[in-house]
Amino acid sequence: MPAPAVYLDWNATTPLDAAVREAMLPWLSERFGNASSNHAFGRYARAALYEARSRVAAAVGAHPTEVIFTSGGSEANNLFLKGAAVCLPPGRLAVSAIEHPCVLEPARQLARQGWTLTEIGARADGTIDPEHFRAALAARPAIVSVMAANNETGVLQALAALAAEARAVGAWFHSDAVQAFGKVALDFRALGLSALTLSAHKIGGPLGAGALVLDKRLELAPLIAGGGQERGLRAGTENIAALVGFGVAAERAMQRREKDAARLTALRDGLQARVTALGATVFAPESARLPNTLYFAFPGINGDALAGRLDAMGFACGSGSACSSARSGASHVLAAMGVAPDLARGALRVSTGYGTCAEDIAAFVGALMNSIAELGSLTAVSAR
């Protein structure tokens, strides 16, 4: 296995920021106390937890008491949907059809338990269908969830407007912002959200830490009971090292966001022009997207094969099936956008981050040209 050289799969996970690692290490060493302990070791841990909570809250314009730490984005999404469902009489819920499986699957689980689920469709440009959204709201759902930015296409949804419409019918409006956090501005209060899901490892923080930001007027039931941590909403000894890392990562992501956004948008647009010229179909090219994400396919070339070929040449990126879910198969996101299955099977996602430079992209284009030439001729041969 050659040493992977260029990492272009930042939407899957990001390298740990060196400053975040430095902040975490004492908590894997001499600062090892349990935050529930009533002695000096415990007090240090509690103080660190408070600081981490304040930093995460500040990054999204929420109050620290509104931040419920979890083991990650999946848990936060599950906590919101199932925790809200326990506190409400079974009714309707609506989630977009392009959500991550950790929103779609809990929603489908609730549907098996007596809730009526509407999956809101998407348009070809990757945004959710406004007419379908309004029709879903007309049925008076208690819970609505629409992601801030899609993990595959990077397409941004008009959150503030959607939230306002949902609020008008009395629904709790939640947004999975795991991909948007750190890449675009998010203000919990200004967006008018009921709840927001965040994750540390997509912003230069560690794996194993996430948060549900929850409007303090709302009540949820815990997903994990026993011990009373996180205001009774999430039991279990707090993972101090990871949460400290999360706090620092959130703060740093805010500090560099605007500068990164401009630079990564330029890199992405340059790459988009190159792949288009090479004959690729770019998904949602006209839509407002995350600065770092480009999703495309070469007709007739399988995305898994292309990603594998690129990996062998030292470029790590995500194929459509790999970033869609743990199961193989074509992307449910592209299906919802009406992309033909044949083209969808070719999907390749390039996602960059603060560590990506212009040379990386230039080298990637070279490798891509080489790969499509090779795979294209193979396809041509096998098709004969």
Partner: protein, 402 residues
Amino acid sequence: MKLPIYLDYSATTPVDPRVAQAMIPWLAEKFGNPASRSHAFGWEADAAVEAARENVAALIGAEAREIVWTSGATESDNLAIKGAAHFYQDKGRHIVTVKTEHKAVLDTVRELEREGFEATYLDVRENGIVDLDVFRAALKPGTSVASVMLVNNEIGVIQPVAEMGAICREKGVIFHVDAAQATGKIGIDLKNLSVDLMSLSAHKTYGPKGIGALYVRRKPRVRLEAQMHGGGHERGMRSGTLATHQIVGMGEAFRLAREEMATETPRVRALRDRLLAGIQGIDATYVNGDMEQRVAHNLNVSFAYVEGESLMMAIKDIAVSSGSACTSASLEPSYVLRALGRDDELAHSSIRFTLGRFSTEEEIDYAVQLLRAKVGKLRELSPLWEMVQEGIDLNTVRWVAR
């Protein structure tokens, strides 16, 4: 000797420096998401996760594919009990557990009661151990799940889970064991135990916080309803991106536990016994829980007529925990000690000492000396001690409680 001295290893343990070393590459250049299947970063992380799974399984005599990663023992307890109770609810809706279980089990069972399940909370004998006849009698035709901890977190007593497992198997009841406090402390061999589900924690065994596991038996196969849905990780039983560095840490911690338990346990036991001998020199002290069926590192003592929290404050150079709960909203003392039939005053007067890998003789001697001095000082301040010295039986006093 560095102060404060840590004698609270059952609350959490330091991460062993060797464990931290093993984790660090996964916090640096090896940062892939183990679910990324399209490149080497992901494969490398996935291989590390699977190697760790082997190490965790090996400590408890299980197979790697019987290990499901979770965020910790609390989540494991929730997944095991709710997951099994929901999956097997057609068989029955009665759960059996014990009054001295950890809150992660008790609160989970209470949640099931709110959903309409029936629950029985068994008493323990005054040594903290469940009577097997009482356990057997509690299992009814409608009992689907029984949950009993292997080692109690407060008093360190070991429950007879081998015998209980046999009874459960005979009666067709799914048997869950919370072993968070047991790994690396006593030998566990699931090949010879009729245990269906077992909760494990890393941070009580010199691994990192935020990672645990649930053992789910394959033969005979035990099924669960997932509590966290999503990408279908962990064979659909627990979705969510796996935290590679934490998993690697847990694997290394469990590997070290397996290698070192045989030499570590006698050393820790000798220190614990030295602490016990020192404390027994103080008047009116009582050990809580059985001293034979008990892990080597735990000592729980009531210092009569001295309130636990004020004692903790007086001995702040040693970090311990107290059965008194004067800090919590309820003013009730430890429910574990009350379940032993200890009166409330003794429960309020209890201190838990838990020793571990980095405890030294010098630390123990310092602790004993400090305890002798401070217990004496607080008794000078104690009206109860004064009354007892005057020959008054405290049980005959009419207290003016609010």
